[in-house]
């Protein structure tokens, strides 16, 4: 059975199905992700893109199928265990701590002191400070370290959430619509950022903005009604008549 086969893929999703009261939001999905690969999933609204991420990160429990991350089965782990295994996820609407400063947001995401007693004894030392500054610089927020996160622009909030994942140094980074609400310039900066951070890890991005997708994607998968409609190079996918009909045509 494929439940027990080991693969070289960072992420191997096999026969994954989830049904909400009989409605199959994800239907018998097979999906593979390589190391160093930046893979973009596109598809119309309600195609099940966000649900796939929910399944991988443990927010939603699958009905059947398997999700293997570095040959480790994720479907029976709890959310925080999946994070500890090396999976980081950005939500569709920026999910940051609005009442805390940028620095505190990054500090909470720092992968030390995650236990009760560890967090009580956690020392905000030079190593932590340097790491926070490094990530803040990467996400272009180094000047806003002491700003309350709620006061950031929408684009900056998106960056902050990406930064909160980067500081955990995950092997798999999942970003749900990272450039929604961003200006053209911010999109360019984000594309650059994603190209940089995809080195040494796998990145799974959900996006609607085709121009942006073309700039970053190594591979594209089109999802429709919980099933894969097409997969491959951006160019091939764009030419695919089925894809044009359900997604790109309108």
């Amino acid at each position: 059975m494929n439940m027990s086969t080991n693969t070289d893929f960072t992420l191997a999703i096999e026969d994954l199905t989830v049904s909400f009261d009989g409605f199959k939001a994800v239907d018998n999905l097979n999906f593979y992700l390589d190391r160093n690969e930046l893979h973009v999933v596109i598809g119309p609204n309600g195609a099940g893109k966000t649900t796939v991420l929910d399944l991988i990160c443990g927010k939603t429990k699958s009905t059947s199928g398997s999700i293997k991350f570095l040959n480790k089965e994720l479907t029976n782990l709890s959310e925080h265990e999946i994070v500890l295994a090396g999976v980081g996820r950005k939500f569709q609407t920026p999910s940051i701590y609005e009442n805390l400063s940028v620095m505190e947001n990054l500090e909470i995401s720092y992968p030390k002191g995650r236990g009760v007693f560890g967090s009580l004894m956690f020392k905000h030392d030079a190593v932590v400070r340097d790491k926070i500054l490094e990530v803040a610089t990467q996400i272009m927020l180094e000047k806003a370290l002491h700003t309350e996160a709620g006061l950031l622009s929408h684009g900056q909030k998106q960056w902050l959430e990406i930064g909160m994942l980067l500081i955990q140094d995950p092997q798999l980074l999942m970003l749900d619509e990272p450039v929604a609400g961003m200006s053209v310039k911010e999109r360019e900066q984000t594309a650059e950022l994603l190209n940089k951070i995809s080195e040494g890890r796998s990145v799974l991005v959900i996006e609607h903005d085709m121009e942006f997708v073309a700039r970053i994607a190594h591979k594209v998968t089109v999802l429709h009604q919980g099933k894969i409609l097409a997969s491959g190079d951006m160019k091939d996918v764009q030419k695919d008549p089925k894809v044009i009909e359900v997604y790109l045509g309108h």
Binding site: H80, E107, S119
Partner: protein, 384 residues
């Protein structure tokens, strides 16, 4: 808002607030009040433990417990059981049909000390029980609820239900617990008369030091990364989970810590007041504790102490003249605070305190100016 704890405690202003409170309860009250009033304030300050625990649990943790009376009560009862056993020595109870057991047991035809009372012959065990039994109890409730992701209103209701059940149990098992009257006639601790004025004054000071120590410990928790995680959880629990934290463990810990603090208050209550009864366990006291914290400011450890003192002074003063009106007044006050001053007294201080500080600065400036003027005059004088 988010930096409230730093403002209140992390910097100079926080230290000043702490010192003012310490001076008030350690110096001003003992100097100003006679021993009867001081004992009364001491009693109020035992409730402050529960109010402080709610600042942690509710204000920062976002989890409202309507059952802190449970833990206050367990702490109080543990202490009362020890004192009662000492008061029930065979010599003191020679007229009973079974000498050597508490009087209420004898009245209920119990002829042997129940097993769970036995260890309370030991004072060290009692102190251990005051701290550990409520913590374990909170752990059981917390693990059962938080691991299943029960929170918010449901958690509040469940804690309330537990406090009702506990009250019913205590009242119903009269022979084992003293029933509705509670455990009374507590007189000595290891032979030392605890009803004397000197003992009561000593307990008052012990109580104050414990309260200040609890505030410092709480402040340590809130200024650590744990404190930031509490705030983050209150804001976006899911994000915390997806940053790799087992959210339930953090809630369980803070609930256990809050339980332990409340229990210390309960034990000090028994020592200072000389009895313990189910009326400090049930719904009404538990809700009163929430009101103390709300009025003081649920984000302020020190505010919670002032809230407790203020409401209890008010209660004592008011209920002497209009006892039936007091509950309505307190309810109204609570609603008003929640609606108009969500941060309570501490919030008022935050909002209007700076006027006061400004005035102080003005006066300070005045003095320093007049001082430099005086210096100038002096200089002139020395020149001539």
């Amino acid at each position: 808002m988010s930096f409230v704890y730093e403002k209140l405690f992390g910097d100079k202003k926080g230290l000043i607030g702490f010192c003012i409170l310490a001076a008030l309860i350690l110096v001003v009250f003992p100097v100003m009040l006679d021993s009867f009033r001081l004992n009364l304030v001491g009693k109020y300050l035992t409730y402050a433990f529960a109010a402080v625990s709610l600042v942690l649990l509710w204000g920062y943790g976002g989890t409202l417990s309507l059952g802190q009376g449970i833990f206050f009560g367990i702490g109080g009862y543990a202490m009362a059981m020890f004192l009662k056993l000492e008061a029930s020595s065979p010599e003191n109870t020679a007229i009973q049909s079974t000498p050597g057991i508490p009087d209420f047991m004898d009245w209920n035809q119990i002829t042997e000390l129940p097993l769970f009372w036995m260890p309370f012959h030991s004072f060290s065990f009692t102190l251990f029980a005051v701290l550990v039994v409520p913590t374990i109890f909170a752990y059981i409730i917390g693990a059962a609820m938080f691991k299943r992701r029960v929170g918010g209103v449901y958690f509040a209701i469940i804690t309330q239900v537990v406090s009702v059940i506990l009250t019913v149990l205590i009242v119903g098992q009269q022979g084992l617990t003293g029933g509705i009257n509670g455990i009374t006639d507590l007189r000595t601790l290891n032979g030392w008369d605890i009803t004397s004025d000197s003992a009561k004054t000593l307990f008052y000071f012990i109580n104050c030091f414990l309260l200040l120590a609890v505030i410092i410990a709480s402040r340590f928790i809130l200024t650590s990364k744990f404190g930031r995680i509490l705030l983050a959880m209150r804001d976006k629990e899911d994000r915390v989970r997806f940053s790799g934290y087992d959210v339930a463990n953090f809630k369980i810990f803070i609930f256990c810590f809050a339980a332990m603090i409340s229990a210390i208050g309960g034990a000090m209550f028994t020592l200072q007041v000389g009895f313990m009864s189910p009326s400090f366990v049930g719904i009404v006291p538990s809700i009163e504790m929430v009101i103390f914290a709300a009025i003081g400011g649920r984000m302020s450890l020190i505010g919670a102490v002032y809230g407790t003192l203020l409401i209890n002074f008010g209660k004592t003063a008011f209920s002497e003249s209009f006892p039936e009106l007091w509950l309505f007044l307190m309810g109204g006050l609570f609603i008003a605070v929640v609606m108009f001053f969500p941060n309570g007294l501490a919030g008022l201080w935050e909002d209007y305190g700076h006027h006061l500080t400004k005035r102080l600065d003005f006066i300070k400036n005045l003095f320093s100016k007049s001082k430099s003027a005086a210096d100038a005059i002096e200089l002139k004088g020395s020149k001539s």
